[in-house]
């Protein structure tokens, strides 16, 4: 049996089991894959000998751990490829599915990983970040970072004399100048002065940097452990 056929079988079994919460019979499997029941029966016996499935005395199929892993992996590849082909390349979904069936056997894990990331980015662009990545004049002078991952408290929440570690520069800030002055993630900073309006003098790399309150609130930090 070809490796691609094996993968197809395992994928089909896994898919069926996820959908119906039970493993398929030979007949059901044959119908899904458009093969004869006899052919399926003999192939299943071969998979059983390779340790991908266990065939019980009454003929029901169960996936072994190895079989389940392979099946899940191929299924994920299929979904990613199909999504890429239809969502990003714009193919219609049935031919995308067909094409994905062929590609899924040859594609590397690395490629799938990257495709997955690409789809997420693309999705983000399409649905969440409306216009966020459009270059504007403002962005040229003050680059707007769509960086909402950082959940650290802002440096404004700390008081004079405290030492903190910078985690991120989030939100809309003139980030480039901060970066150039050494306020980069991982850098240790001492709050030298804090005025009542929240304007700060921060010492990094032996230099004092004064920032306005709204800039300070965009600097995510953690207390020095």
């Amino acid at each position: 049996m070809q490796p691609s056929q094996r993968e197809d079988y395992l994928e089909a079994v896994q898919f069926f089991s996820e959908k119906n919460a039970r493993y398929p019979s030979y007949e059901e499997l044959a119908a899904t894959l458009s093969k004869t029941v006899d052919r399926v029966r003999s192939d299943m016996a071969e998979l059983g000998s390779k340790g991908d499935i266990i065939i019980a005395a009454d003929g029901t199929i169960t996936l072994t751990l190895q079989g389940k892993q392979t099946g899940t992996c191929v299924m994920k590849k299929h979904e990613t490829l199909q999504c890429f082909l239809s969502e990003i390349l714009g193919m219609d979904s049935s031919s995308a599915s067909e094409e994905a069936c062929t590609l899924e056997h040859a594609v590397s894990d690395e490629t799938i990983d990257r495709l997955g990331k690409l789809i997420v980015t693309h999705d983000h662009l399409l649905h969440n970040g409306k216009g966020e990545y459009k270059k504007t004049d403002d962005e040229k002078t003050c680059r707007v970072e769509a960086d909402d991952f950082c959940k650290s408290p802002s440096i404004s929440d700390f008081s004079e004399g405290e030492v903190v570690i910078i985690q991120c520069i989030h939100g809309r800030a003139c980030a480039q100048r901060l970066l150039d002055l050494g306020l980069v993630p991982g850098e240790r900073a001492t709050i030298r002065r804090k005025l009542s309006n929240g304007a700060l003098v921060v010492q990094v790399k032996g230099c004092d940097v004064a920032v306005s309150p709204e800039i300070a609130s965009a600097i995510g930090v953690e207390r020095l452990p």
């Binding site: 690409l118 980030a175 050494g182 980069v184 002065r193 005025l195 940097v209 306005s212 709204e214």
Partner: protein, 616 residues
């Protein structure tokens, strides 16, 4: 040979530049930019060497005018050798710029300046080790003592080589750089900039943009942040291996006084008040002497020559212009520039910006806007040019409008010469008060109606140090030269025009034309309109013209106190001078120039009319 000095702001580049070139410095404007480049020539071993002082910058990645200029300068091979000036006390932060410049692979040397200051702080820098890390010759220098400055030229001309530094970038960045280099064929420094969204090749930017986005998603951090972090870490490693710290006593930290709300803000107010008062007092004292000497030694003898009327009129106008120029430039503007240079060289200006941040936020600006405002008390033209400091269009628009309203030293002359002399010193201060209130009202309205977003201030606090007399003087001298260069031609041209006007009797025509406004609305004598008109050319001309037209220097005998007061306030408020309009147009475009001019005319006439009606 051409050598360029590159470095962060405040590393002592200018001092080194001055010591290398001596006098004979030219200020050039780089084509298509308003950033000044200082150039000077020296002869070394019978060979002419040109030295360029590049503007101080923190990074080559940004998009400010200065950063773009230096980047273009480096990519176009503007100099044969780059002398990177590095502050010994801030080695790590300064090496950040060095490694960026090294990526453009010019021939370089490094000058580690302020080694005396580093000694005092207990920092020992191993020059040989630094040199082997960077791959270029390193000179330890102390420009304030002149130590090792004489070694710069021989080393720069003889031993400069491209630096051997390679920042270990994150492997995704490295991969991206390689693939861009392969697919598009652009060099590494261009690709690094393209990944951060800077460049002019649309194909490259497109490709780089897509990669940058992916790397950003993967790291959950923008590419700029990753690149900056990599460079800073690299600089930190080098610094750690070449700098030894010995124990030393911490000197008293003046900032504990200067940057606190109390006593910082009272100190700030006192310093600004003293600056303006001394300009006011020293200025009027010196002006009197200059005008007197000039009249006695030049104008009186000239009038005694008895030339034909037209030549006499032209010559007289020319001399009056020279007198006005000298009478304002040296006493007021030069004094002011000395004070300003003192504030800058001590490093106090950045403290002022920090403290002013809160007040400036109320009017839609941020702390750095205090710098153009203070400069505006000297002369509006350089103040408008310094608006580059503010990053967004919104801030520049608001600040431009305010700066043109601030009484510059020419307007101080009008206030001092007319109101303080003939009405009373307290009335003179009341004019400042009125302008101050109008400024705040204008600012509050502007900050509501000006479109755009507000961004805050990010300023490095300069190190506090003793200013050096010769540096302060040479800086003030450069500035006054720039002022004379812009103002003198306008001054002479308009003075001659005024002379011709008078000679052909056209002033009366003009006076009749606008008399409804001057006489009826403002309650001024007819000839005041001509004086106001010429005040548009240079503000102090309003005062001089008024004296000429009224036929006496004792204005109190021909006009009432109310008239003098109204005249002063109208001429102070209304229309910035032509040089200001020209520089506004150049920096911010026609629209802002027109709006500002129209607004100030309207404001001047309105306030003048109100005072006339109230006090008549």
């Amino acid at each position: 040979m051409k050598i360029a000095l590159l470095g962060n702001p405040g590393v002592g580049k200018s001092l080194i530049f001055n010591q290398l070139t001596g006098l004979g410095v030219e200020v050039n404007r780089y084509p298509g930019s308003s950033v000044a480049l200082e150039c000077g020539n020296v002869c070394y071993k019978q060979e002419k060497t040109e030295i360029v002082d590049l503007p101080g910058i923190y990074s080559l990645d940004g998009n400010s005018e200065e950063e773009t200029l230096v980047r273009t300068f480096l990519t176009s091979g503007g100099a044969d050798v780059i002398v990177a000036v590095i502050d010994a006390t801030k080695l790590e932060r300064n090496l950040y710029l060095f490694v960026q410049a090294a990526e453009f692979s010019p021939k370089m040397i490094a000058v580690v300046n302020m080694i005396d200051e580093a000694d005092r702080q207990g920092l020992l820098i191993d020059a040989d080790s630094l040199s082997s890390h960077l791959g270029v010759p390193v000179i330890l220098a102390a420009a304030s003592e002149g130590r090792n400055i004489d070694r710069i030229l021989p080393v720069a001309l003889g031993q400069a080589t491209p630096a051997r530094v390679h920042v270990p970038y994150d492997h995704h960045i490295e991969a991206a750089l390689k693939s861009l280099e392969k697919t598009i064929g652009t060099p590494m420094h261009t690709n690094l900039l393209a990944l951060q969204g800077t460049g002019n090749d649309p194909v490259l930017l497109d490709a780089a943009g897509a990669i940058a986005q992916e790397i950003g998603m993967r790291h959950r951090m923008s590419v700029s942040q990753i690149i900056a972090t990599n460079r800073h870490n690299f600089a930190r490693e080098i610094t750690a291996s070449v700098v030894k710290r010995s124990n030393h006593k911490k000197p008293y930290d003046l900032d504990s006084l200067l940057t606190r709300t109390f006593p910082g803000i009272p100190i700030l107010c006192t310093i600004l008040f003293l600056l303006l008062m001394s300009v006011f007092l020293i200025g009027s004292w010196m002006e009197e002497i200059i005008v007197e000497v000039f009249t006695a030694s030049v104008i009186t003898p000239f009038l005694a020559l008895g030339l034909p009327p037209l030549a006499n009129q032209l010559g007289f106008s020319l001399l009056i212009a020279l007198q006005a120029g000298l009478g304002i430039a040296f006493p007021f503007i030069f004094t002011f520039y000395i004070g300003l240079s003192l504030l800058e060289d001590t490093g106090y200006m950045t403290r002022a910006a920090f403290l002013a941040d809160r007040a400036m936020h109320r009017i839609g600006l941020h702390g750095e806007a205090i710098i153009p405002m203070v400069i505006g008390f000297g002369c509006t033209v350089p103040a408008i040019m310094s608006l580059r400091l503010l990053k967004t269009r919104r801030e520049q628009t608001i600040a431009a409008c305010l700066v043109t309203m601030i009484p510059c030293s020419a307007r101080t002359v009008v206030i001092a010469g007319i109101v303080a002399a003939f009405v009373g010193i307290l009335w003179a201060f009341s004019i400042y008060l009125i302008i101050f209130i109008l400024l705040i009202l204008t600012a509050i309205v502007l900050s509501r109606i000006t479109p755009g977003e507000q961004f805050g201030m990010i300023v490095e606090m300069s190190t506090l140090r003793m200013p050096q007399a010769h540096l302060v003087l040479s800086k003030s001298w450069l500035r006054i030269k720039e002022f004379l260069f812009i103002a003198m031609p306008v001054l002479i041209g308009t003075s001659i025009l005024l002379g011709l006007f008078q000679y052909f009797g056209m002033t009366e025509l003009f006076e009749q034309l606008v008399s409804p406004v001057t006489v009826t609305l403002l309650g001024l004598p007819g000839y005041a309109s001509t004086a106001l008109l010429f005040g548009v050319f240079r503000k102090e001309l309003a005062f001089e013209t008024l004296a000429v037209l009224s036929g006496t220097a004792n204005l109190g005998s021909v006009m009432t106190s109310v008239q003098l007061y109204t005249f002063a306030i109208v001429s102070v408020l209304f229309v910035p001078c032509v040089s200001t309009i020209a520089v506004l147009y150049r920096q911010l475009g026609a629209k802002i120039a027109i709006i500002t001019s129209v607004y100030t005319v309207f404001l001047g006439l309105l306030i003048g009319a109100i005072i006339n009606i109230l006090m008549k």
